[in-house]
Amino acid sequence: MDVLKFREMFLAEAAEHLQMMVDILVQLDSDPEDQDGIDALFREAHSIKGMAATMEYAETARLAHHLEDRLDICRKQGRISGVEIDWLLEANDLLKLLLEDIRNDSTERSIESFLGTIPQESEACPPLEGKADGPLECDQGQQIQLRLRDTVVAPGARFMVLLKRFSDFGTVLGSTPSAEELLQGGESLHLAVTLKSDLFQQQIHDQLLKYSEVEEITFVDEAEVKKEKQPEKRPSGKTVRVSTELLDHFINLTGELITNRNQLQNALRERQWEELDDGVGQLVRLVKNLHHQVLQVRMVSLQGLTGRLSRTVRDLARNHKKEIEFQVVGAEIELDRAIVEELTDPLVHMIRNAIDHGIEEKGTITLKAWRERDQVLVQVADDGCGIDPDKIRQRALEKGLLNPSQAQTIRDYDLFQLICQPGFSTADEISETSGRGVGMDVVKTAIERVGGLLLIDSSPGEGARITLKLPISLAIIRVLIVECDGSWMAMPITRVVQTVEISPDEVQSSGKQLMINYQDELLPMLSLRKILKRPQGSPPETIPLVVTEVMGRKVGLVVDRLVGQREVFIQRLPAPFDQIRGCNGGTILGDGQIVFLLDLQSLFERRRS
């Protein structure tokens, strides 16, 4: 028996189940009574246990068994608490470590200490006690629960006003959410206040009735409160897990900011300009640091994707009866969550292509990720037969994407980019996996949507490499600002190959098309004014050019002026204006000027249509 082969299968499969568990747990976090979710979770744990036991990985099986037990209890209770979700996520991490041990051929680590942390059943609730109306002056105070109408615009601020009102009635011993939470923007329609007061319930009730925003007022006994507390309420909505290390960074930064504020206030009071200058310099550094840390919170590694991808490889290899090894390098590289989410389908598609068209019988697919300055590069490479330039050329001619003279002069590299043209496909027959016609154009669109760039490279007999150049973060990107007809416009720096200023003498013409020689290559020149239907400007002494890539070809985009690079926060435009082609959002610069982000690709598509 080929133990190694089974081990690989087990590892891939188990990782798959673990990822699934994480996904479900995150969902349950916002909907802890989702029976289907809890059931699915139980099945995942059960599968892992079964597989691990078969493979005789004792500790892994034992931990999975404990998970199954916990989940069985949850199933019977019909809900899963936040504490349990946290514990299960930790157990999930530990299972991943155990899989690592198995992969490395080392002994599975002990899970004994972790099992000690299994959440205990909560203590039995104290007996209920009836309570008559009377002054709310007992030591623990009384809890008053309020619910706001769902039309209330600013519930947080409304509760702040109400909390102040409560302090007119007596002493507020505590509230959920607390004043601090409200100030930090916590929004909920429910407020629970513990109040100690000389007033009678009825008096307080009457006062509260003056607030038409309040829909429901409930006076609750402390004993009942304790009972109510058991099903722990967690905030709904998308949650992220933040490492305590990162939180510590935030706390340190806050400390530094406070020091900085004191320094600035001091300098201002004493009119110490030098010190003020110093302080502002510090502030610039701190804000930059804060920005960086906040972005960290949104970052996830590619690890979450690799499980699904290796499964795709395995399934396809089996279907095609090909022998394929899947290697992952740099899975620890982190990207903004939104980009990673966008990346899944394109990567699956690229891998399918590699198996379908690239590798013939046996080969290796490598997924490699690395950082280059403020970009992340993700590459899918295979060692198959490579892309045949002649086939592409033939196809492009048939499709009318090239004319015969272009077909002769076009360089292989530029030829490969044509694969991403809509409707282009070189598969000689329609295959079940990649299909025909749809494919790389969809991939390219998805990559460009997140501000990335897709490059194809291949040498006959040495396989093909598709490289994605991606911004690390979606919201904040580096742009090149250009001027055109008196307005500033921006384009993502990831889409810019280079900026140059040329003399009008360097412009050549080929038929109607103006061309420019750029690094021994003739590039067509396109005018941004023309594309945007703006009047022609006066002829300049030097022509500012942005070398960029559209429709798979390098072009020189003529602008009025190159303004420079900026790091900007991109806003999505409100619907339906986000549908306007050629624009991918905008940003407001420090001086209040609005600059729109040009989407060159769709501008050109729009020009053609």
Partner: protein, 121 residues
């Protein structure tokens, strides 16, 4: 004696609207101000029973003006007016001491309810 109100808003439109409401319920509008600095001066001069204070105004904004007024008269009854999208500013204003708030665009009845509440407490 007539109750007296100071209306602070940079938009003529909002001031007119509030003035109409107060006049209708028999209040005296002692002054109108277009920014925080004018508001502080007008408050000092008139000591009104109530101030309606816009949050976002040119020059000095409503929250700063509110803080100054409260530092001079801790009993000042100030209600902030703010647009829908400024929840955080409302929070800041309330924690700085605003007695209540109204969200623009508002209905006459909402203004009346808040005014009644603030004057009663």
């Amino acid at each position: 004696m007539l109750k007296r109100v100071l209306i602070v808003d940079d938009a003529l439109f909002m001031r007119t609207m509030l003035r109409d409401i107060f006049v209708e319920i028999g209040w005296q509008v002692v002054a109108e101000a277009e920014n925080g600095e004018e508001a502080i001066a007008a408050y000092e001069e008139h000591r009104p029973d109530l101030v309606t204070m816009d949050v976002v105004m040119p020059e000095m904004g409503g929250i700063d003006a509110l803080k100054v007024i409260l530092s001079q008269d801790p009993a000042a009854a100030i209600v902030v007016c703010s647009a829908l999208g400024q929840k955080n500013l409302i929070l800041d204003a309330v924690s700085a001491g605003a007695k209540d708030f109204i969200v623009k665009p508002f209905q006459r009845d909402q203004v009346l309810e808040v005014v009644e509440r603030v004057i009663a407490s």
